[in-house]
Amino acid sequence: MPDILETLLPVFGSAVSAGFPSPADDYIESRIDMNEYLIQHKEATFFLRVQGDSMNQLGILDGDLLVVDRSIPVEVGNIVIAAIDGEFTVKQFALSEGNPILKAANPAYKDISIDPDGDLEIWGVVRWAIHKLWP
């Protein structure tokens, strides 16, 4: 419901205020827009849902919503979406003795080396993990 209200308010708000300049205008700022805050490149941004617990120790939990930006270059330490055997997997991009690898945030899982000729593809960089606290 609040979302619907937010959409409707500007429509009626502007209609009502037409012709009544108010000194309060100087203090009006746009409300915080989470789209603007979370998304830097809207054409290149996609949302994915986490399934599993192999990234728990970095605070990326089962069910979290990931904001993935495909437009930014991958850097060491980034959390990325990799297509491994055709399946989207969330991992950390790291270096091991100078070679690029994908790490889970859980010592129980083995690192995966990135073979330049293999069919492993870095699909995008995860900018945010959004964790829901209230049902």
């Binding site: 054409e43 986490v50 617990d53």
Partner: protein, 431 residues
Amino acid sequence: MAVTRPSIALVDCNNFYVSCERVFNPKLNNKPVLVLSNNDGCVIARSQEVKDLGIKMGVPWFKIQTLVKHHNIVVFSSNYTLYADMSNRVMQIISHFSPNQEIYSIDECFLDLTGFQHLNLIDHGQRIRATIKQFVGLPVCVGIGASKTQAKLANHLAKKRPAFEGVCDFNTLEPEGLDRLFSEIEVGEVWGVGSRTKKRLAELSIHTVLDLKKSSPKVLRKQFSVVMERTVRELNGESCIPLEEVAPPKEQLICSRSFGAPVFSLIDLTQAVITYTTRAAEKLRQQKSVAALVYVFIETNRFKVNEPQYNNGLLVPLPEPGNDTRLLVGAALTGLKRIYKPGFAYKKAGIMLNDLSCADAKQKGLFEDAELQAHSKSLMQAIDKINGIMGSGTIKFTGEGLKKRWQAKAERKTPAYTTRIDEIPIAYAIG
């Protein structure tokens, strides 16, 4: 005064619908994939692997069942929600490469690169390709020429000949080189030359693009039309068809669909007609037009010759041109009630909005009431906005019904990965 030759680019996505599916299913890379038309009727998109198997565009699905099984072809119902969103993203990205863009279809647009010639345009084209590939994962090719017709042809070559690496610029070729290239391409590949025109051109011994280029525009104008004359001039590097940055409003809007299963009752037809009219009304408002007439039609399956047949349609005029969904739905349902006859198995229903004009130029009508008008406008804006943000169909008109028995068959449709929060892809954290 030095006149610079125009540089027009055509950016076109490769196997667009299939490529969209592959972005979200990387498993499908290098596998044969095809997409079916609405209601799973016939083939409307093919991956290169499927093209190589000789499966043609438009063949009915039932005719290729054995091929599909034999070659493990992956088959999808069309997912227009996904394709439309990906198309919007691609067009947005391309718009950063030139201020003058004409969106020509869901997967291609023209760009005016005249004035960008200080850049190496082949490099510029490669940047466009790389950016789209990185941002949204889709492969595109870029064709550049002195006219739109040349750009289309250059794009064809960029796709077909690997040597071009996806970008072909006719303006960088010497005239002799260009003619040699043109002599190797069938005239049927030229923009606007269909199979019938091709036959008539063959009678005049015009077989290749070069033959057409060397023909006299005046003679062809007499034999064909002014369109053909323009095509010849455009092939010769004279730009005759300007870029239309703002697409002219379409003169009619159609929304119709075949049902997955036959429909008998007026209630079910009513639901379908309300849905189609709602969609068409949204499109109408998007292009800032109003309609004066609503045409509604229903059809039985004319291929089932043993069954009783009934086809009818009715054009319903509105009291005044408008784009309010309630007004249009009211008119469509009035028409439907008039033409409906019980006892038939209906296969298809649809509506058409006719006599469209610009909303601003709308004349004052009898029923015009400024207050009512303003209310209608803000209500429709609010509904469009909410449906735009929260997904189409969030706000529906009563009668549209939740259970849509008549909904078209789409058994192999992938999720709306980018437009519905409960259908986004899974990122596994299990290994």
